[in-house]
Symmetry: C2
DNA sequence: TCCGCTAGAGAACGATCGTTCTCCGCGTAT
DNA sequence: ATACGCGGAGAACGATCGTTCTCTAGCGGA
């Protein structure tokens, strides 16, 4: 029999792929079982309910997101580039064939009305991202109002790219971010 | 018996409210029937399937959105204010108690994997909005790249406000839009 | 008055959902 | 070798879904 951790990983990554591609409610636990190759009994031993599996998927997505952003950040040399790094990560992501927008936003829209735990998990990820952007802006010596503005561009890019399917959306967002950063650091800017 | 058009309006606005609040798949046709006060037989005479009802709801939302934007536009005096008008409309909308983000984005995330008609309807609304913003930028004599940037801010504001629940998101988006517009019209701006 | 038609209320239907249970095959200890 | 226990496959269960069907009450015309 496969190791518990392996089984857990297989179930989570399979559920992630299926839920993300088709929506949570459109995918039955049977489909997860079949594609993951882990019996229902085992799945329910690892995750007490489908809701718990969804939360595990969100945690998995958070890790992937954080890793992707960290990778893009590692390639940035200046504080200014570090503020823009997230848009480079988005550009990569949007080019993937199975890109279908931000899973947090999608799950929130589908489930937040029924599951407060999902709503809370999504809120946590988004506030964590905003805090991260705020730190980058702070490190670059930028004004406090810049961070939520950059975050708005990143969020908007994700939904727009999901719906239009146009990877160039990331470039538009990056260009806008460059303008906002330039204005925030220009000598004519006040506050 | 109530008039066909009245019945149709009641069903659509009830379905709109329920689908938007709880998600489409979480709301059964029985709930729509009960709350709208129109028999299932009648509903299915008006809308051949739930998918058709969802499309009718999306059309209804498009009309509401267009009317709201038009109202905000009517209050704007200068071409610059007209580009910013959409953010004033967003500010109003975000303050509503039942605000739960952009229905098009929510429905897309939930259903686009299963219904190509819903996916197409959402895409149409978003491209129509982008075209509208592009027209406003054009009328103000702004550069072409400005329109998608402003649209990104509007999209990002909607999802961010939905998740954080903070109506001030609209003000952040508006401030960013003012900066982008200022930069696009400044004499130092080059292409 | 009686007949035929319409529309509403909701039962019925088949499918599918999340979740649990049963059964069986296999590995291991004695 | 045999008894035991664990885990996998998938049947079973009750609920609920979208959709259709049945039954009945009310109404207009001969």
């Amino acid at each position: 029999m496969i190791d518990e951790e392996t089984a857990r990983d297989q179930v989570v990554s399979t559920a992630d792929r299926l839920f993300y591609a088709h929506g949570v409610q459109a995918v039955g636990m049977d489909a997860v079982r079949t594609e993951a190759g882990v019996s229902l009994k085992r799945i329910y031993a690892l995750f007490p309910s489908k809701d718990d599996l969804v939360l595990a998927v969100l945690r998995h997505r958070t890790e992937q997101w954080d890793a992707g952003v960290a990778r893009a950040l590692a390639a940035a040399r200046t504080p200014r580039d570090r503020m823009l790094a997230v848009f480079d990560f988005l550009a990569e992501w949007f080019r993937e064939d199975d890109f279908r927008g931000c899973a947090f936003i999608n799950f929130f829209g589908e489930l937040a009305g029924g599951s407060s735990r999902v709503a809370e998990a999504v809120r946590e990820q988004k506030t964590s991202f905003q805090r991260h952007v705020a730190d980058l802006v702070c490190e670059a010596g930028g004004p406090g109002y810049l961070a939520p503005q950059l975050a708005l561009l990143a969020e908007g890019a994700q939904t727009t790219a999901a719906i239009t399917g146009d990877p160039a959306t990331a470039a538009h967002a990056r260009a806008a971010a460059e303008t906002l950063i330039g204005a925030a650091f220009s000598p004519t800017s006040r506050f």
